[in-house]
């Protein structure tokens, strides 16, 4: 398990999560979130916990996976914090840490699969892939699937790109760049605890711009 301090550093520096130092804990985000009732902690609490350094718990919470990207909180936040973007960052960090996550990650994998394969997707391809890992959900959605099939609205295989080899080359190159970035971050993480890191903690004591 990666230490809370390292995780907070990755969140604050690599993902610019230190923007949450501006948070005044008003709770407008949690109040406007359509999925807050189902979250382990509302977004307000998540940001408080991240500031306090309880990062492993933040990454384990279902909160980040329930964020649906509706941007309700973002337009209402009196401190103009890009909350949705921070949720994306925390999701990616949870993946990196291999933290077991709720069903949404399986859905995202099902979504990304045809994109990587063909450059495009069909809704049916995503549902089928998700259904393989979640037979109960597949069963629940079966009647809907039949209704859609009767209306000829199911097409499993996406129309592949004309230049699929070119697209794949781009994606491979992108993966290479992502890999290099990760290595750089890992290298930086080993520096944590050394004097250079004191900066972050000073900022924690005197958050800039907090009322």
């Amino acid at each position: 398990m990666t230490s809370d301090l390292i995780l907070r550093d990755i969140f604050f520096k690599k993902y610019r999560g230190d923007e949450i130092q501006k948070c005044i804990q008003c709770g407008t985000c949690s109040g406007s979130c359509p999925f807050a009732p189902y979250m382990d902690y509302g977004p307000r609490q998540i940001f408080a916990m991240a500031r306090e350094g309880d990062m492993n718990e933040v990454l384990r919470a279902n909160t980040i996976w329930f964020c649906v990207s509706c941007y309700n909180c973002v337009v209402k936040c009196p401190r103009k914090i890009s909350i949705t973007d921070h949720m994306y960052s925390l999701k990616k960090m949870a993946i990196e840490q291999g933290i077991k996550t709720p069903d949404m990650l399986d859905f995202y994998h099902a979504f990304n699969f045809p994109v990587e394969e063909y450059g495009r997707l069909t809704d049916t391809a995503v549902m089928a892939k998700f259904g393989l890992r979640h037979p109960v959900a597949a069963l629940v959605n079966l009647p809907l699937g039949i209704r859609l099939a009767l209306k000829k609205r199911l097409g499993i295989k996406p129309r592949p790109l004309d230049n699929l080899p070119g697209f794949r080359k781009i994606m491979a190159k992108t993966e290479e760049i992502e890999k290099i970035e990760k290595l750089i971050m890992a290298e930086r993480a080993t520096m944590i605890g050394k004097p250079a890191n004191q900066d972050t903690d000073k900022k924690m004591e005197k958050p800039e711009g907090v009322l």
């Binding site: 949404m104 990304n112 809704d123 199911l154 781009i170």
Partner: protein, 280 residues
């Protein structure tokens, strides 16, 4: 009027969205020129899972559009619209990120420079097309037809520069120009439909969709008009599970087609799960 057009992955399978969009474009003499060899934008799935691919996917679409000589990209899906716009904004303001993205795009000899306007087709119809040019094609009297304008999330949020974030009015305006009545005080017009969470969190999403439908029912709407394939699918497919009377959910392009006197067959109204019974 000619625009670069990004149809996105859901356009084809959405209930008559493609057919009705093509039909009204013919009537209005608008050309939506498909960006050749477009790929999936990645949507919230890639924002949630990948650092760099989340930018490269929309950047490839924009680079293709630039190479094909377009100055604008018109979207018909809220998620595509917001993904392209979000990527465009970040890339414009982050030179380092732009260099990395272009390094990857170079594998296909493509380059993103950031010269495009990212737009939504509904907004194009309202803002670019003079009202009288639209109105002269209206052939059917829809003055008794009360339409609930449902905008969903990723059109006005997070930006709020095209329209108001709380109470957008662009589609209301379109409905009026078509001679129909936009539902007044439709509070749920920007509520979230649950988007892709419908797959993994169906029960929670049904509750959200109930509010969108209930508000329209209580206030007397006969139909809900949408502008995003995922919104349309979620609100339409939640019917019958929320204990409310059926409320047909159509695309704004189908509403336009109805006003123009196009047949239900042409607009593929038979693809809707909840049938539009009213004979218009």
């Amino acid at each position: 009027m000619r625009y670069g057009f990004f149809p996105g992955c859901s356009f084809e399978g959405a209930a008559g969205y493609r057919e009705s969009t093509e039909a009204v474009c013919r009537v209005l003499d608008i050309e939506l020129a498909e960006i050749k060899d477009w790929n999936c934008c990645g949507a919230t799935s890639y924002w949630s899972t990948r650092d760099m691919k989340a930018y490269v996917l929309p950047a490839r679409i924009m680079a293709l559009a630039e190479a094909q000589g377009f100055s604008e990209i018109v979207n018909i899906c809220n998620a595509c619209y917001s993904t392209l716009r979000k990527a465009d904004e970040k890339l414009k303001n982050d030179g380092e990120l732009k260099v990395k993205v272009n390094l990857a795009l170079g594998e296909e000899n493509l380059k993103y420079s950031g010269s495009l306007d990212i737009r939504h087709f509904m907004e194009v119809i309202v803002n670019d097309l003079p009202a009288d040019r639209l109105k002269k094609h209206v052939k059917i009297d829809l003055s008794d037809f009360i339409v609930a304008p449902y905008y969903g999330c990723q059109l006005n949020r997070p930006w709020g520069d095209m329209d108001d974030t709380e109470n957008p009015v662009l589609m209301d305006r379109l409905i009026k120009r078509l001679g129909a009545k936009p539902l007044e005080n439709y509070s749920a017009k920007t509520e979230c439909c649950g988007a892709a969470h419908m797959v993994a969190h169906k029960n929670e999403c049904i509750i959200l969709n109930r509010r969108i439908v209930k508000d329209a029912v209580v206030k007397g709407a006969e139909v809900i008009s949408t502008l995003c394939p995922l919104c349309q699918f979620n609100v339409d497919s939640s019917q019958g599970r929320n204990g409310l009377p059926d409320m047909p959910v159509i695309f704004f392009t189908q509403l336009m087609g109805l006003a123009f006197g196009l047949t239900g067959k042409k607009l593929m109204l038979n693809k809707l799960l909840t049938p539009l019974k009213k004979a218009v």
